[in-house]
């Protein structure tokens, strides 16, 4: 596998963590209460930390003189390969938790496989991240149950979020050209094999939360090809502001 394709594969995995981390950071100081505020920002920190490990590795592989910051801050929208799910806005807490839950379950399944990657660095990052993401999944699953099996209003709101975000779940299991190359070299993971387990786990938690699994057969896609929803531009404007305004600035 060529370095160029490996870099693309790594960014495919890492961009999800970056964008979800960015969304969660937006909630810093805006969480519904102090504990959830701290929890959401802690998860953002974990995700951004993982992103850094991936991007540092990608920068190392790049023959151009690139740094992790170039990858994080200086690409244009079409070059980000995150799924549409993670860029969806923080509409209300039910949405935030549902988006997190839908991603956490996938993220954990992915990392469990990625730790067996032939690529030592990716395997090391995955082993480290698993411990953090297990906590994220525990947190978001617990909240899905609390909201779903909570009051009439919380139930209705989280059910709405589940119905709205469901259409973004199928994209998690799409394979890009780079994904296929990575699988062939036993570096990457064939995400299609995770699908059954994913929906099973999601189903179990939703059922326990007295929520209904939507019967939606139409799914939205595009993020993995760099074709994002209208929310992505605003998100990047915020994310890239400092580097665009003060080029080459450093902490």
């Amino acid at each position: 596998m060529k370095n160029e394709n490996l870099i693309q594969y790594i960014c495919g995995v890492a961009d999800n963590a970056l964008i979800l981390g960015q969304r969660l950071s937006e909630l810093c100081g805006h969480g519904p209460n102090l504990e959830t505020d701290i929890a959401l920002t802690n998860m953002a920190l974990d995700l951004l930390g993982q992103t850094r490990s991936y991007y540092q590795y990608a920068a190392q592989l790049s023959d151009k003189d690139k740094t992790e910051d170039d990858i994080a801050f200086l690409r244009v929208e079409r070059q980000y390969k995150n799924v549409l799910l993670v860029e969806q806005p923080n509409t209300h807490f039910g949405y935030v938790i549902t988006r997190q839950f839908f991603y956490d379950v996938f993220h954990l399944l992915l990392l469990q496989e990625l730790q067996t990657s032939k690529d030592e660095t990716l395997s090391a990052i995955a082993k480290k991240a698993i411990k953090e993401v297990s906590y994220h999944q525990r947190f978001s699953s617990d909240w899905i149950k609390r909201l779903g099996d909570g009051t009439e209003e919380s139930h209705q709101k989280v059910q709405e979020a589940v119905n709205d975000l469901w259409k973004f779940t199928d994209e998690l299991f799409h394979m890009t050209q780079d994904d296929r190359l990575a699988v062939d070299s036993r570096i990457g993971i064939d995400v299609t094999t995770l699908k059954e387990k994913y929906y099973q786990r999601i189903g179990e938690v939703l059922e326990e939360a007295t929520l209904t699994i939507p019967e939606i057969k139409w799914f939205q896609k595009g993020g993995k090809q760099g074709i994002h929803s209208e929310h992505m531009g605003y998100l990047l404007a915020d994310l890239q502001y400092m580097q665009r305004t003060y080029p080459n600035m450093k902490w």
Binding site: I38, N42, K128, E132
Partner: protein, 167 residues
Amino acid sequence: MTIELEQHIDPQLVPILEKVYDPEIPVLSIMDMGVVRSAKWIDNVVQVKITPTYSGCPAMDVIGDDIVRAFEEVDIKAKVSLVLSPAWTTDWITSKGRKALEEYGIAAPLEENADKEALLGGKKIVKCTHCGSKTTKLVSQFGSTACKALFQCEDCLEPFDYFKCLK
């Protein structure tokens, strides 16, 4: 980012490393925290490898700088790099470190499910650092830093941090 399977610390360097403390838990030295994976002389420079507790832990940069400074004070040049594998676990905290945590008011990590059990009304094993009661409840799985959860004692009503178990 490399892999450092075995811990190799030059015994002569230990006293210097023991002077470096975690900036967020100032009673815990980085040796007692178990984040130093190796420290050895390579061509007149001490190469130190540390492993992060959590991927995004902001303390790692500070710890790296503090290590360099601690060696500078004794006229030794040091270089610090980060290793990810094997991943840090709370089992690497020494018994001295655990004691220091408890005295500082942070309950030391117990077993993997201690906080979940507390949340779901299972067995209560996390001891209040103020009064020693085990009648405690989990307030939040995430506390003031990524490595801690927030607990409250139901007897003395005081809140306290619990160092999350990471295995």
